[in-house]
């Protein structure tokens, strides 16, 4: 489905079509894009492989500066040799060798790298390091979970499986109604529930795929308790009254 189709379907369900549209195009597009980005974030279902040049001599580099849509690494290889690097935490590296900052990959007499790093670290969301350190720039092939492209043109389609495009409409309806609060918000809770259940289902598929592909990261299994808290955020008037 295209952005224009998603927008129309959203409006059909919120009873705000044609010239009487209650929501502007920008509002509906914003809600759809928000849902799309959260869907990709929670499921890690948008995957890309990109060349990433690690600056030689630096203990750490910023990954978001080069790959602004980066969320988490899934697989990191040295581009030339295809050697796969293992993920590690800084405390593991420090335990392995407290002098790791001094430790560079082996070099020949002319100071050309002849060995390659074995491990990589991601500290927080951006700081990326290699162990052992490299003296020269090193090209990596980075497979990573990415944020999808923002939907701006009417003919553009969301960068997720087509079967989940309808889930974006569910989110958009909840999001637009949430601005109004009260019964409008309450009535849209089922749309949010369906959206979050779709996320859980896709995340489960991605986890299975990550295990099979031995990826370094997998999406979180959202606990039902987490989801029910979000859905139960309704006004008191919307709660079921006990039978008389």
């Amino acid at each position: 489905m295209t952005l224009a189709q998603l927008r129309t379907r959203t409006r059909e369900r919120t009873d705000a079509t044609g010239s009487t549209s209650y929501y502007t195009d920008a509002q509906v597009n914003g809600a759809l894009n928000e849902g799309l980005r959260f869907f990709a974030f929670a499921t890690l279902s948008v995957e890309r492989t990109a060349a990433f040049t690690y600056t030689g001599g630096e203990p750490f580099v910023s990954i978001l500066t080069d790959l602004p849509d980066f969320i988490v690494p899934l697989r990191v290889r040295v581009a030339a040799s295809r050697k796969r690097l293992n993920p590690a935490r800084l405390d593991e590296i420090a335990a392995l060798d407290p002098a790791w900052l001094q430790l560079y990959v082996e070099q020949d007499d002319e100071e050309n790298d002849i060995a390659e790093p074995d491990r990589y670290m991601l500290l927080g969301c951006d700081l990326f390091g290699l162990f052992p350190r490299v003296n020269d720039d090193l090209d990596l092939a980075m497979t990573y979970a990415a944020s999808p492209a923002v939907l701006t043109a009417d003919g553009q389609s969301p960068e997720i499986e087509e079967e989940h495009h309808l889930d974006l409409i569910d989110y958009a309806i909840w999001r637009l109604r949430a601005n109004e609060g009260g019964d409008e918000l309450s009535a849209a809770a089922d749309y949010l529930e369906r959206f979050l259940q779709a996320i859980n289902k896709v995340a489960s598929h991605v986890r299975a795929k990550a295990r099979a592909g031995q990826y370094d990261r997998a999406p979180l299994e959202l606990e039902l308790a987490d989801i029910s808290k979000v859905i139960r955020a309704r006004p008191p008037s919307a709660r079921k009254q006990p039978a008389a």
Binding site: R37, P68, L90, N179, G181, A233
Partner: protein, 202 residues
Amino acid sequence: MLDLQALVNSLPRSLQAANMSELEFWTETELYQWADEAAGRLAREVGCFVEFEEFPYAAGNAVYDLPERHLSTIWVAAAQFGLTPTTAYELDCLNAQWPNVNLPFADRWLQDGEGVGKIRFYPNPTLDGDASIVFHRTPETIDADNTDLLAPLPVAEFLSWSTLSEARMKESDGAMPEAAKAFGEMAKLWLSIADHYWGEAQ
């Protein structure tokens, strides 16, 4: 790079206003403040902003200021050798005269006993050198003059939901406690996911 100006400018539509100037119960400054508070919460609860810095240390001086916006220390090295974290109590047990112990290189670091925002090396180094520190930090204050945030793009959702939650919680005719709760719960759900990707466990 997140464009927070675009993010904040999109929020009036969620607050029943066509643009910033038509906001009735809130101001642009408040929206930026709430976005800034949310970014601080993200830094504190998930620890997703991590930085590496180096600074010189001088022989005979064991106490130094921590970097600006420092939240917590992850790892410290002196002369490119990793130091062991310790406490003043442990050093007291080791040697009551520990503040007077001098050696060419430090092998431990501590943050207690010197007040907030200070780091101390033990033993007191007698040679000059460079120290390295990896630490969690808070982002620079977000306001109308500082609207860039180096963070993954999905952080936009967390900042939007948190800001809208605060706006709808504010005592005014625009208050909507149920909407505040809904946005707040979405922000909490987002944080639990972010913690899995970028938090302590990593």
